[in-house]
Symmetry: C2
Subunit: 690 residues, 2 copies
């Protein structure tokens, strides 16, 4: 058995601060931190965790900080099996981990909160220093991610970390309108957000399909909730829970469009007469507030008055997206109003509405955020613009003096891979903004729209991919090594379940349910190879509604199918060095992989005889068997050193094309690398590219 110290010596090397380095340094390769800190130095050695581990908080301390330390201790005990004292010392000499905090930080956390910290692990102890409690919270998360085991014990490598975020606004939008998400779902996601240092929960609380907050002043809003909404007490609980984790809560009440749920109880404020009922479908629906009537602004003022007392954050999201001009222009009274006020089009009318809205919000000490449709020359420069239609509108806004955050490219329901999400940068290299404009780009938000997620599936749609987004928003721009990101994501993914989200347990439970058995090895195997179809295909193929049970295989599998990446990596190795002994070993591995994949179809066929919901999985497995057979043929050409005839190549590429077609809501993730293999068998140089 190796001693922990010698292991550490073998692995760890002293290196210069990270931000100045290449991203694949050997020092970083031992860490599974995500997001990667701004600066890390790894030294030789490792602090062992023992039952004598104890936390000291010698300087500033308050209940929020002590609760965070307490959570960290519980989490640490639950991971290491150590019985740890929850008695937090005041004397720093008594601490194995000294949490040295200067002050509380802001009473209401703002976008300007100081989140920096330093973390020094040496032989004697761990010292976490932060100017604010929020900085300490960030450092505590880093500390927990540093803990790893060898064969004997758990420990923390000697490191010196100096860290602060690249962007001040690092958010996750959760849409609770299309499908309601109970408080426990929100809270476990807040825990996961905190683990990867996100700092804004954007709570999309109203949309056509549901209004989700209790209003005492306007109780008929409850009629737009279908019985599922948060009480005021629950809202307060969530906000307190978030604040405990250094996370702001920004409410969104979407208007003037996406507003049917308001009108179920209050049809008088709509631009067309009611009555309104909650839609169960997701068709684009033509309903909006009437911007021409004083009573509408009076109503909104009253609503903001009530809710601004409930939501302490400085920002208030008004939505502002996707208003169909015809909603207004088909109403004669509204057309008269527009003519009277010399408004050229519906855009001008929305700008008028947004201006009045921003004045109402200002009167209640709130700053307005809106989706990028709100961008209009008449809009006050105080408004923050959230870009969803493209990166361009973010830059455009910044040049015109608006601050902005990026969500274009960060829609989680689009089912992009973690790698794709990871490369979406609010300030990409080579942008043409000047320093003042750059300062207006506050950050970004991942968006979990609710049409296709339920409390059972939402976690696996958000996590672990959002951890990659969190790193993009926190870490230096230069941290872009995708292989290293996936390496660390695999570790962080498991840790995220420990803090409460169920993105790994949830899919397994759903497989068991729709298979009717706990023997789901063939489905696990299939899930390594298939991914969900794109959002567009999904909506077209099955036309889901708010009441459709979301338990198809396409609701269970996730992007980043593991075997898809594994196959690509094997082919990279093979094509780099096809002749050597290593090439033969890779070919053996590939052959075993293909054989394993072919064996899934008969197993699933048997399962599907009593599990009709597996039908998509069954036909995906059949396609997989066909694709695997093509792979085996291609491999035999390579093994024998023969070159396939052009007709073979053409035919097999066509077979792969048909294997690539969606099977229900599933698609094979391994077709692009298999194409490479077929091309290689045909002697085509393109085999080495994707």
């Amino acid at each position: 058995m190796r001693s922990p110290v010698s292991l550490s010596l073998a692995l760890a090397v002293a290196v210069a601060p990270l931000a100045a380095q290449a991203s694949d340094s050997s020092a970083r390769a031992v860490l599974t931190l995500m997001p990667m800190p701004a600066s890390v130095r790894v030294d030789a050695g490792r602090l062992l965790l023992s039952p004598f581990f104890r936390v000291a908080v010698p300087r500033y301390r308050d209940a929020r900080l002590l609760r965070a330390v307490d959570r960290a201790l519980s989490h640490l005990a639950g991971r290491t099996g150590l019985v740890l004292s929850h008695d937090i010392a005041r004397d720093s000499l008594l601490g194995t981990l000294v949490v040295d905090v200067r002050a509380a930080g802001q009473t209401v956390q703002s976008v300007d909160e100081n989140e920096s910290y330093t973390l020094d692990v040496t032989g004697g102890r761990v010292v976490l220093r932060a100017p604010t409690v929020v900085g300490a919270l960030r450092g505590l998360e880093t500390f927990q991610q540093l803990v790893s085991g060898d064969s004997d014990a758990f420990g923390v490598p000697f490191v010196h970390i100096a860290d602060q975020p690249r962007f001040r606004w690092r958010g996750l939008l959760i849409d609770v309108s299309r499908h309601f998400e109970p408080v426990e779902v929100i809270e476990r996601n807040l825990d996961a957000m905190a683990a990867v240092k996100l700092n804004v929960l954007h709570w999309h609380l109203s949309d056509d399909q549901g209004f989700r907050v209790e209003s005492r002043r306007f109780p008929k809003l409850g009629r737009g909730s279908d019985g599922e909404s948060y009480t005021r007490g629950q809202v307060k609980e969530v906000i307190a829970y978030a604040r405990d984790r250094g996370i702001r809560v920004v409410p969104e009440f979407d208007m003037p469009g996406h507003a049917i749920s308001w009108f179920v109880g209050y049809p008088a404020y709509a631009s067309a007469p009611g009555p309104y009922t909650l839609p169960t479908d997701y068709h684009f629906t033509a309903a909006a507030f009437d911007p021409t009537r004083a009573s509408v602004y009076h109503f909104i003022d009253g609503f903001v008055a009530e809710m601004s007392a409930l939501f302490p954050d400085r920002y208030w999201h008004v939505g502002g997206d996707e208003v169909d001009a015809r909603i207004w222009t088909s109403n004669p009274a509204i057309r008269r109003f527009m003519r009277h006020h010399k408004m050229a089009d519906a855009g001008a009318l929305q700008a008028y509405f947004d201006q009045r809205l921003s004045r109402i919000l200002a009167a209640h000490h709130k700053r307005m955020i809106g989706w990028d449709e709100v961008l209009h020359p008449d809009l006050p420069r105080s408004v923050l613009v959230q870009s969803w239609r493209g990166y361009e509108s973010l830059g455009e806004g910044a040049r015109e003096g608006y601050s902005g955050i990026l969500s274009a490219g960060l829609y989680l329901d689009a089912m992009s891979s973690a790698a794709q999400l990871y490369m979406v940068d609010p300030l990409p290299a080579g942008n043409d903004l000047d320093s003042a404009q750059v300062a207006r780009i506050l950050g970004g938000e991942a968006c979990m729209w609710g049409e296709l997620v339920t409390p059972e599936t939402i976690d696996s749609r958000i996590w672990p991919r959002t951890a990659a987004i969190a790193e993009r928003l926190w870490s230096p721009r230069e941290v872009v090594d995708i292989d290293d990101m996936y390496r660390r994501l695999a570790a962080v993914s498991v840790e995220l379940e420990d803090v409460g989200v169920q993105h790994l347990s949830g899919p397994a439970a759903l497989w068991r349910r729709i298979a009717g058995t706990d023997q789901i090895a063939p489905l696990r195997a299939l899930a390594g190879v298939v991914e969900p179809v794109s959002l567009g295909q999904r909506m077209r193929l099955r036309r889901p509604t708010t009441v459709t049970p979301l338990i198809a295989p396409g609701d269970i599998v996730t992007p980043d199918a593991r075997d898809g990446r594994a196959l690509s990596a094997l082919l990279d190795t093979l094509f780099r060095d096809p002749g050597a002994a290593r090439g033969a070993a890779v070919r053996d591995t590939l052959a075993a992989m293909f054989a394993r994949w072919r064996s899934i179809a008969p197993a699933l066929a048997a399962m599907t005889t009593h599990a009709p919901l597996l039908i998509d999985a069954d036909s995906a497995a059949v396609a997989l068997a066909a694709a695997s057979a093509v792979g085996e043929e291609a491999l035999s050409y390579l093994s024998d050193g023969r070159t396939a005839a052009p007709a073979w190549t053409t035919d097999r590429l066509a077979q792969l094309d048909s294997a690539a077609a969606p099977r229900g809501l599933l698609r094979l993730a391994i077709v692009p690398p298999l194409r490479r293999l077929v091309l290689a068998a045909g002697g085509t140089a393109a085999a080495s590219g994707q």
Copy 2:
């Protein structure tokens, strides 16, 4: 593709009522009901479930019944993917499922509640008839268990079921003192209990290690809670939740012993002076109420007055177990009291205490239950006796006129197999009780003591094994086919997760946590072969306390290791017919099994280099590899038709003996069948027995 109807015709045969039959009828073999109803007739045909499925409640209806129907509809939609209407009709002609209930049933459910129902599935519809709402709840569970899929759709076989329980008291004890279990844990277990028709939650609310209910009258009881207890509101919520599912809640406040947590706040009522602190260990601790002082009874009376208003059940469990006589006899004042009242021993003093307790309870309209130590000639016959020390005390009580329930043999923490628990019958065949005595045996309770379970692990300790106990307590005594029980248990196990318990998800999540990866196939494979050591070994080996994290492999694996049973079944087949082609196939299967088992050790060794908590799993895998090698050798003798030398047999049996020793908290579950194989290789006839 086969049509559902022809499939049903192929499988289903019309048979006479079940109670009168052999337990392995082919009709029953198509059903996965658990508990098996008192009488089932299966007819040819199957009612298909479609989106037009609708429930009608034409006669008696109340909110409880409608909520239950609503839950059943949600559950059905979540299993089948069908969009089902939640609009419950009054006109029975509109119902695919007609729920015809005569009356509400008891206002406070008692042991005498009528739980019977009939369920008739024919071509046109399903008719559930019940005299009470509780009977309808039971029938709704049976209906849901009847739903199964073929390759095309879900349906329900044509059946005629007439059902009622064998025993009136079918309970689960959950100890929340040693480890606190939050309300959500209790509620999800109530859902699982309802699914298998259990009807009593025995809530063990106080013990030495924690007092778990808020008292307004005696607020210092909160000092004995370590900050974790139920508010009155939560207690009411749990009771309402249970009543909605036809489950009674019987509180236990253990006294005079097991009572340290009372004395943390109220030391004056103890028989020895304080101060008292909550113990974190599980040593037998010498503290008890002082039965000689009037103030003690005054206190208890006040406490019962407060709590009897909170807990509506007719029964109140006083504990009464394990009082160490020396607690009392070492106190001079108590000795004087005993002399004065001519009490021969501590038993007489406890009987005096119990008598006074029963009078206090009677004044508050409560009937007393106690553990079998309370049995004493002076005890009133109205007391219900819960037998934990053995079956004998149950029968003894019944002969002396006491009603009783059985828990001996039903301790879930003893880690017995489902088969062992299944055979524990409160009224076994051949008992010598007369009919009046038989009527006094009300049923039984599974006991989930809390020393070694946390909210993370409790579900996998209770389920699915408790479903087998539930069947014993509900179904006819003649339903005893263990293979068929395991067949149905596998299906019910998956359904239990759907209703909320996490006995399958929870262990997987813990494996991922302590392995630090989501690639846990070797651990899943190992879990098929190993089981937890017995409770006694566990307590001796590791001496756990209330603060020990319970995340060792021995906290994750469960009894009934799948491959242990699979190996036994294969050997049964082999020894029944060793020569034929089938024998060769079985030998091939065994060889593959042994090879698979041997491959676990190297995989786990690699994992354990960075996961120290896997150590027990690692050494169990090494033992498994050794045992598998022995199996392979034995198999080669059988394949070659050779007989092993006696020395070989002796040596290999010794090797198996050492493989059978506990590895930390794990033990191999496959040693007994491997011994059979070795003996067979040595030509010993004993091979065909266990």
